[in-house]
Symmetry: C2
């Protein structure tokens, strides 16, 4: 498999972590998104939406959207519940991640490391507030559950871990959500865990 990647991207990290933990060999193609490499005609032929990660499968077909890729890789493994309601609950948290979490927590981190915070200063307070709200929803759930779904580590945890564990880089204070902090340690304790900056 070939992964179109960007080393700072939590969305790409989800896929790297999943592939490594499942011991699936893959090749990484690093795309410099700050230099516009995901907006070239060549890359738009791979993903018309111009985003990484994109995973090229062994039959040559391409799958995009990090959480759809996680779902695909999880089928037939213990990384997703095997009952219909459990699968839907995993997806529920993954849609929460893309709609109510990533646009605030990942974007503030991206603005911080790409030098865009000042230019977007007017938008920061609302993003901070909504990111804090997402962390509070997670904390409430994790105060009563070790993992997001089915009592065990799953793709819902991978999806939410990717940007949560580096939320501090975007100025979020995780000490206010102690159940989230404890869950981050549980995820880091999983077999074959790799950090976000591990290169392939």
């Amino acid at each position: 498999m070939r992964l179109y990647d960007y080393h700072e991207s939590g969305n790409a990290y989800k896929v790297r972590l999943m592939l490594h933990q499942l011991d699936i060999a893959f090749e990484c193609v690093e795309m410099d998104i700050l230099a516009g490499e995901t907006r070239t005609p060549e890359f738009l032929a791979i993903n018309p939406n111009g985003r990484i990660p994109a995973l090229v499968l062994e039959d040559g077909s391409t799958l995009v959207e990090s959480n759809a890729i996680l779902f695909f890789l999880a089928e037939g493994t213990d990384r997703i519940p095997n009952d219909a309601l459990g699968r839907a609950r995993a997806l529920q948290w993954m849609f929460f991640e893309q709609y109510s979490h990533e646009p605030y927590i990942a974007v503030l981190r991206f603005w911080a490391f790409s030098g865009a915070l000042e230019r977007n200063a007017a938008l920061v307070p609302e993003k901070r507030e909504r990111g804090d709200a997402a962390l509070a929803v997670m904390d409430q759930h994790l105060a009563r559950n070790d993992f997001f779904v089915g009592g065990r580590y799953s793709i819902a945890d991978i999806a939410l871990f990717a940007y949560t564990h580096v939320a501090g880089e975007g100025g979020f204070d995780l000490s206010r959500t102690p159940a989230v902090e404890a869950w981050i340690e549980r995820v880091k304790d999983q077999p074959r865990f790799i950090p976000i900056d591990r290169r392939f």
Copy 2:
């Protein structure tokens, strides 16, 4: 089943349309989101993220996130491909919808009907541009495919139809994406189709 609903919400309409087309009986509880009814302690006990739709199943458990609900209802029906890659592709388009489409196309429509356009004027051009980009990605796919996945009507179509067919209410010009316009007619031609303003 009991659906916590808001009649103007495309996200809630996805679930109403799916339930009606599958001939599943349900009760609707209309929540006035403009009056804050989804932010009360009572509703936050149903969905801690404070959003509709929320579907209460017959065993009393609650599922939230419109696209996770669609996926749950689709299992065992012909509204989702039965191969792993096909299911992942349906999810790929559904994550596209929540991340690259809804935040622009649904939000401009919401601002238009809730009187918030003027207050958010500075944000409108970027939302317009990104919404147009999402419609262009859809148009490119639909120029070569009758439906989003597997050559037939599926939950990916329902997810994308909900806010696309009313994009004009947010000022988007669908005549610029003729393949999208033709697909809208194909969706409306499906058996047991109901319009967004059909009340239950």
